[in-house]
């Protein structure tokens, strides 16, 4: 069976999804169910002290008993903040070690700060975390992150929340061809064809949030993404036909046409 293996654990789904930007927890739950995802990202934030402590909790809608919860460091701009956030996340999730590291470098583009990302990855790996790392689509830095012991390399396809799709498929291919750990496209997917293209390129998985949550019908888009990731993966395994740029090659027989001479 074709499974995604991350840090020694196997997953049937190659689609990873976020939980941000939904209307409410009901919509979150239904979209995630429709996506078929098993790995689901969450953010870590301060509680609203003084506000009703009885309000619903995300982890009731997305129970850790059913999903692999992947806490992220979204909003962190330094290695120190990111490490601190993930240590809190590990306590919150009863010692769970699989995390998504992202250290941002710019508030307009949300482009990663790679020196801080590398610094945080090193600390986290030494501290026993299994680090799935959001990064630029730079094959050299991807190799550095792998050498540090990261569990998965997660280059952006385009900017977070942009829906611009895969802007540099050739860089992704270079990363995929070099990596021995899973490569998961994280950020930039806009619609189902983007996810399929990522998988056809040979990515091991796709992580997305906005493409589902900001669709007109998020639950329906979640199901489209599930199919796109499956179709793209299957096409990758099947091996596409070679492209022929200068000659056509008919699919039907060229002989036996009526009216032709025998």
């Amino acid at each position: 069976m074709d499974q995604l293996r991350i840090a020694g654990r196997a997953y049937g789904s190659r689609l990873l999804v976020g939980t941000g930007k939904y209307r409410d927890f009901d919509e979150t739950r239904m979209a995630i169910e429709a996506s078929g995802a098993e790995i689901v990202t969450v953010a870590i934030r301060r509680t609203n002290i003084g506000q009703d402590p009885g309000q619903p909790n995300l982890l009731d809608a997305i129970p850790p008993s059913r999903y692999t919860i992947l806490p992220n460091t979204a909003g962190c701009y330094s290695a120190e903040e990111a490490v601190r956030t993930l240590r809190l996340a590990r306590e919150l999730l009863d010692g769970h070690a699989l995390v998504k590291l992202e250290v941002l470098g710019d508030s307009t583009t949300l482009f990663p700060n790679m020196p801080e990302t590398l610094k945080a990855a090193e600390v986290l790996v030494k501290d026993g975390f299994q680090v799935m790392v959001y990064c630029t689509d730079d094959p050299v830095q991807a190799r550095m992150l792998e050498a540090l012991g990261c569990a998965a390399i997660m280059p952006l396809a385009s900017l977070i929340g942009s829906g611009m799709g895969i802007l540099n498929p050739w860089n992704l291919r270079l990363i995929i061809d070099n990596a021995k750990v899973p490569v998961i496209v994280d950020a930039g997917v806009g619609t189902a064809s983007d996810a399929a293209i990522a998988m056809e390129l040979g990515c091991d998985g796709v992580l997305m949030n906005s493409a589902i949550a900001h669709a007109r019908n998020p639950v329906l888009m979640a199901s489209a993404m599930r199919k796109a990731v499956e179709a793209g993966r299957t096409a990758f395994l099947a091996g596409r036909m070679p492209k022929k740029h200068y000659s056509a090659d008919p699919s039907s027989p060229t002989s036996g046409l009526i009216g032709s001479r025998a």
Binding site: G18, T19, G20, K21, Y22, T28, T41, V42, A43, I44, R45, R46, T47, I49, D52, P53, G54, N57, L58, L59, I69, P71, N72, A74, R84, R87, L88, A89, E91, L92, L93, I160, G161, A187, L207, M208, N209, S210
Partner: protein, 72 residues
């Protein structure tokens, strides 16, 4: 300052609590978080859930209390 007050910084905001002896477990109960899925940092150190009853809070202590929220 009146007697028997404890001043703590909770999630970046200074707050006063009556009494001078308050454990972290008692604070969490006062805030309504008992049994909720939270994590706590006390003066920069993560506190395992099992230790909440053993931490005695002092004036000026800094606490961060976090939960999981929606995010990508």
């Amino acid at each position: 300052m009146t007697a028997a007050m404890l001043e703590l910084t909770l999630n970046g905001t200074s707050r006063r609590f009556s009494g001078t002896s308050l454990t972290l477990a008692a604070l969490i109960e006062q805030l309504g978080y008992t049994g909720k899925r939270i994590a706590v940092e006390h003066n920069g150190e993560i506190v395992p859930r099992s230790q909440y009853g053993n931490i005695l809070l002092a004036n000026g202590d800094q606490l961060e209390i976090v939960v999981a929220v929606g995010g990508g």
